[in-house]
C-alpha cells in the first residue's frame, strides 16, 4: 500500500524539476489517449513511456510494484471480462473448467482486453507518479496559477499530506483494538460491519483534534488574510516544461490521427 510509505518522494530528478502544470498535461493525456484508440500496440507505447517517466522520476521499483498490485483486480477482471463480450476474430483460447464454466477468447477479444488493462493502469501510474515527484506546496501554487481557488488547492495539499497520517492512525487503532481482543473479521455480516464502530469513533475524534490544530497553524500563518498569494519558491514554466508538455500533447494528436485513419482501432463493434 503506497500510503504506508508517504506520497511525495524527495529526490533530485528531471521530473522533480518540472513545473507541476506540465506534469498535469501528462496525467490528462494518460486519460484521453487510450480513449481515442483501442489497439494495444499503440496503447502499449503510452505504457512504455510511463515506465520511462517512472525511471526519469526515480520512482522506486517497490512503489511501481505497489501500483501494479493496486490495479491487479481490475486488470484481471478486464482480461477475463472483455473476451466474453468481443466475439469477433479467431478463437485462440478455450478452457473448460471442472465446474462447467467455459472461458474462450478470440485474438481481437484478447487484444481489446490488453488495451483495457493499459487504459486502467496508465492514469493510475501517472497520478501516483505526479504526487511522488511534486511537492504538495507546488500543487497549491499550480492550482492558484491556473486561476482555480487556492483554498481548494490548499485543501487538496493538506489532504495529500494527511492521508498517510490518517492511514497509519487507522492501522494503529485497528491494532490497538485487536490487542484488546476485538476480532474484526469474525461473526455474521452485521457483526463484521458493527466491529468497525470502535475503529471509526477514535479515528474521527483524532481527526477532529488534528482539524483544530491544523486550522490554528493556518491562522498562525495568516491564512486567507490577503487575496493575492505570494510564494517563497515561485514555480516557473521554463523551456523544458514547454518541451515536456509538447511531447504529451503531440502524443494526443498522434492518437487523434490514429483514430481518424483507423490505424489505432481494432475491427470490432466496441470501436
Amino acid at each position: 500500500m503506497p500510503l504506508e510509505l508517504g506520497l511525495y518522494i524527495d529526490r533530485d530528478s528531471f521530473l522533480h524539476k518540472l513545473d507541476p502544470r506540465s506534469k498535469l498535461v501528462m496525467v490528462v493525456t494518460t486519460i484521453f489517449y487510450p480513449a481515442l484508440i483501442n489497439n494495444p500496440l499503440y496503447s502499449g507505447v503510452l505504457f512504455a513511456l510511463l515506465i520511462l517517466m517512472c525511471i526519469l522520476g526515480r520512482l522506486t521499483l517497490l512503489r511501481f510494484l505497489i501500483i501494479m498490485y493496486a490495479t491487479a483486480v481490475f486488470t484481471i477482471a478486464s482480461l477475463i471480462l472483455w473476451p466474453m463480450y468481443i466475439v469477433e476474430g479467431k478463437p485462440i483460447i478455450r478452457i473448460v473448467f471442472p465446474w462447467g464454466w467455459v472461458y474462450q477468447a478470440t485474438d481481437l477479444g484478447l487484444m481489446y482486453a490488453i488495451h483495457n488493462v493499459f487504459r486502467i493502469v496508465a492514469p493510475v501510474i501517472a497520478m501516483i507518479l505526479y504526487v511522488s515527484v511534486t511537492k504538495p506546496y507546488h500543487i497549491v501554487q499550480a492550482i492558484d496559477k491556473m486561476h482555480l481557488p487556492y483554498k481548494l488547492g490548499m485543501a487538496i495539499a493538506i489532504a495529500l499530506r494527511f492521508i498517510p497520517v490518517m492511514f497509519n492512525e487507522a492501522i494503529q487503532i485497528i491494532d490497538a483494538q485487536s490487542a484488546r481482543g476485538q476480532e474484526l473479521k469474525r461473526g455474521s455480516l452485521i457483526k463484521k460491519i458493527k466491529n468497525f464502530l470502535p475503529i471509526f469513533i477514535p479515528l474521527l475524534v483524532r481527526m477532529i483534534r488534528i482539524t483544530i490544530v491544523t486550522s490554528m497553524s493556518l491562522e498562525a500563518r495568516a491564512f486567507g488574510s490577503s487575496r493575492k498569494r505570494t510564494y517563497r519558491e515561485e514555480i516557473k514554466f521554463t523551456k523544458r516544461d514547454y518541451l515536456f508538455s509538447t511531447l504529451w500533447i503531440g502524443l494526443l494528436i498522434v492518437a487523434v490521427v490514429l483514430r481518424i485513419t483507423g490505424l489505432g482501432l481494432l475491427p470490432i463493434e466496441y470501436a
Binding site: A35, I163, I193, I201, S215
Partner: protein, 288 residues
Amino acid sequence: MSTPPKEKGKWLVITVIVAVLALIFGIWGAYTYVTEFKWGEPETWTLSRSILMLGSGFWFVVGAILWIVGTAFLIMELAGYTFMGFKITKFKIRWDSIDIAIMALTAAVYGGALAATGGLVVIPGFTWIRPANALTPVFGVLFGLPGAIGTAIGNFIADAFAGYLGWGSIGGFVGNFILAYIPYKLVSDPSLRSPRAWAECYLSIIIASVWCSAYISWWLYIWSPGVSPVPLVGLPPIMIWGWFFPFVIINNLLVSVILSPPIIYILYPVVKNWGLLWKDRITILSRK
C-alpha cells in the same frame, strides 16, 4: 418545546420500519450477489435482472435526471445558494482556516480509512464491501458543505491509490459529494436526539445511496464502449446497469445503515463542543 409522546412513538415506528427494510434489502442484496452472480452474466443476479428488465433506456433517463439535479446542487452550493426546506436560500460560508481544515481532514480520513479498512469479505470469494463508506453521511450531517466536498476529494484521491482512477472518477467525485450532501440536507437535527431525526437519517442514507450509484452509473454509461464514440471508460454497458449500479447501492447502503447513525449520535457532542458543527458555522442571508 418537546415533542409529544404520541408524535415520538409515530417516528419511532417509522424509524424501525425504514431501518429494518433497508437492512433486509442490503443483506438480501449482498447474499444473493454472492450466491447468484456470475461474472459476465449480470442477469444471473435477481437484483440485476429486475434492474435490466426496465431497460437501459429507462435507466438512462432516470440517471440523466439525477445527474442534472445532482450537478445543479453542487454548483448551487458552491455559488452560495442552498435549500432550506423547499426554498432556495442564500447563505454565507466563511471558507476560513477551520472550513479548509475540515475539508482537507475529511478527505484525508476518508481516503486513509478506505485504504486501511480495505474490503470486508462478505463470504470468501470475489465480494467485498467498503466499511469506510459509512463515513460519508457522518461528514455530511456533522460538517455540512465542507464535509461533503471533503468526501468528494477524498474519494478522488482514494481512487488514485486504489487503482480506479480514470474518467469515471469525475462522476465518482460528484457522486460521493451527493452521498454526503443528501444526509446533510435531509437530517434536520444533526444531534440525532429524536426518533424523527433517526428516521430522516435512515431515509437520507437510502436516497443518497441510490442517487450516488445512479449518478456514477449514468456517467460511466455515457462514456462506455458502444455508447460513446470516444469511450473513456473500460466497462461494458450491460455491466454498468447490471452489476455496478446495484453493487454500489448495496455497498453504500449496508455499511451506512449499520454504522453511520450511531457514529453521528456519539460524535455530535464532540463536534458541537469544538465548534465544528455546520449549523454553527454558516449564516443564512436571505430566502427566495
